[in-house]
Amino acid sequence: MSPLWGLRNLARHPLRTVLAVLGITVASALLLDMVLLAGGLERSFERLVLSRGYQIRVTPKGTLPFDTEATIGPVTPLVAAIRRDPDVVAAGPILAVALHARHADSLLPLVGYGVDPSGQGIYDLLEGSDLGAADSAGLLVGRTAAEALGLSVGDSVRLVGRLDPQVATMGVERRMVVRGVVRWLYDDRTMRSVGALLPVMQRFGWHAGNDRASLLMVRARADSLAGGVVARLREAHPEVGVNSVTDLVGQFRERISYFRQVSVILGTISLAVTVLLIATILTITVNERLGEIATLRALGVARRTVVTQVLVEGAALTLAGGALGVLLGLGTARYLDTILTAFPGLPASISFFVPQPQGLLTAAVLLLVTGTLAGAWPAWVAARAPIAATLRGEAP
């Protein structure tokens, strides 16, 4: 017997079927979003910190990158020592300082990054050119800063450093020329950031002559070699913190463990809603059709066939609702992402909902299996219905 009977039964009560499919759509969209959320932030974070291939971070002992205003130094010999490691192909310091730009008759606060262009992992060049090794007047600006200051490549701007607001004194001021427009990988959407060579930025900050940096980014020849490099650096430089991306992701995972817990709870609830919805619909339709089922059994249709027909109905409802749920879930995820990533302090390129083939497959299999099994009880009831009593109208 073909699945025709089971499927056509769904068309008997179109409104009921449509409402059931919509219910499953919403529940499966929630399930999908929870699956994406469960590991999305973690995967997105890992993708971000590996985006330019730098697998290792060297930070002030006991801190995470940009977690505090602490610095490490002297940084020049440290970078040189790290670069001597045979498995290291690049290493560069980064210093973050607070500075200002003159704009009309006011001072616009900025974040300044001191970088070494030969070993940097915090920006992608979008327009213009990168800084030269001795380009002490060159400046890289992020899009937000460029828009706020009305700057484009070739323009100049006066930067002010070591501003003490209490006594209104300025330690240093100099004119810089925009060489390139960049995307700062770790900036949130509102940050106005600029970059210059490390020694230049050290002079803008309170680090002049101190050879300090906020962190170092190190790239090993291969991901598999990063662990060995980390171990050697830890041994050779116990005064600093050395973490691989795996370490950082682990620490990040601990900080966001509540996301996973929330997503598991909500995902389980959405699965339960799906199961209850399908079981309810199928129980109603099976109870309405007990006479037909008894007829089928009288004609010699096997219990297994009857069960299969009911399960096919459950699977069809699940597939229809699940397919729409994927569209709704992805749309919702995108919308929620724009809200959540607008929080200050979160890198703009991070995402809370990251579609992963394995995650999508897990959600699809979970939904299909549970949705189909939701029909198991009504199917069992249908198959066990006493034939003669049901035909006589005596069945409960």
Partner: protein, 222 residues
């Protein structure tokens, strides 16, 4: 040779906590090609007898043998297969599947029996021609008249070439004129060698049968 042998059948139901004796020791033999009518007043146990010999209900005591096979010795799967291949049911209320067309309703028992699609389509067309519904085969059951539905039900009962057709009040839901058409169809079935057991109130239908078994209060009269 007997197609059907029933011995000392009793059937007691519990209805609202009270035992109801629907059959009290009924025996029945039906030979191949025979046309038997079972008659009697409402509640005398006619339909119950049909359900017991058709293997869709279990007697409280007594035995039923179909083509030499004792039904009480079969498990559910075997009994289901026996109903599928050896018995054709025709119900008073037709019991067609409303979401399927006439053709699909006739195909259904053959599909369950694993008959290849092409073969079962040919047979379904042939059977619908036999009952005079070749022009209605694409219509859903709900689009057919009562007489047409009963004819589809008869075609469905014949689908797997059963050894016996068991019909429960086949004209009970039909007007007189339509009942005559079904009567004629049963006459034709009998003439073609089909073994028939028909439960009926309809004297015309009973008069067509080669033998009439009368029930009263769960027992065979005479």
């Amino acid at each position: 040779m007997s197609v059907l042998v029933a011995r000392d059948l009793t059937r007691t139901y519990t209805l609202h906590g009270q035992p109801v004796e629907a059959l009290r020791g009924v025996s029945l033999d039906v030979a191949r090609g025979e046309y038997v009518a079972i008659t009697g007043p409402s509640g005398c146990g006619k339909s119950t007898l049909l359900q017991l010999v058709g293997g869709i209900d279990v007697p409280t005591s007594g035995t039923v043998s179909m083509l030499g096979t004792r039904l009480d010795q079969l498990d559910d799967h075997e009994l289901t297969r026996l109903r599928l291949h050896r018995i054709g049911f025709v119900f008073q209320r037709f019991h067609l599947l409303p979401v399927l067309t006439a053709l699909e309703n006739v195909e259904l028992p053959m599909a369950e029996a694993g008959v290849p699609r092409r073969e079962r389509l040919e047979r379904a067309h042939e059977l619908l021609r036999y009952v005079g519904l070749e022009r209605r085969e694409r219509h859903r059951a709900t689009q057919l008249s009562g007489g047409e539905m009963q004819r589809v039900a008869i075609a469905r009962a014949l689908a797997n070439r059963p050894a016996i057709i068991l019909a429960d009040e086949p004209t009970g839901e039909l007007d007189a004129a339509t009942g005559q058409e079904i009567l004629a169809l049963f006459r034709q079935l009998h003439a073609d060698g089909t073994t028939l057991v028909v439960v009926t109130h309809d004297d015309r239908l009973a008069a067509e049968a080669g033998r009439v078994v009368r029930l009263l209060d769960g027992r065979v009269l005479g």
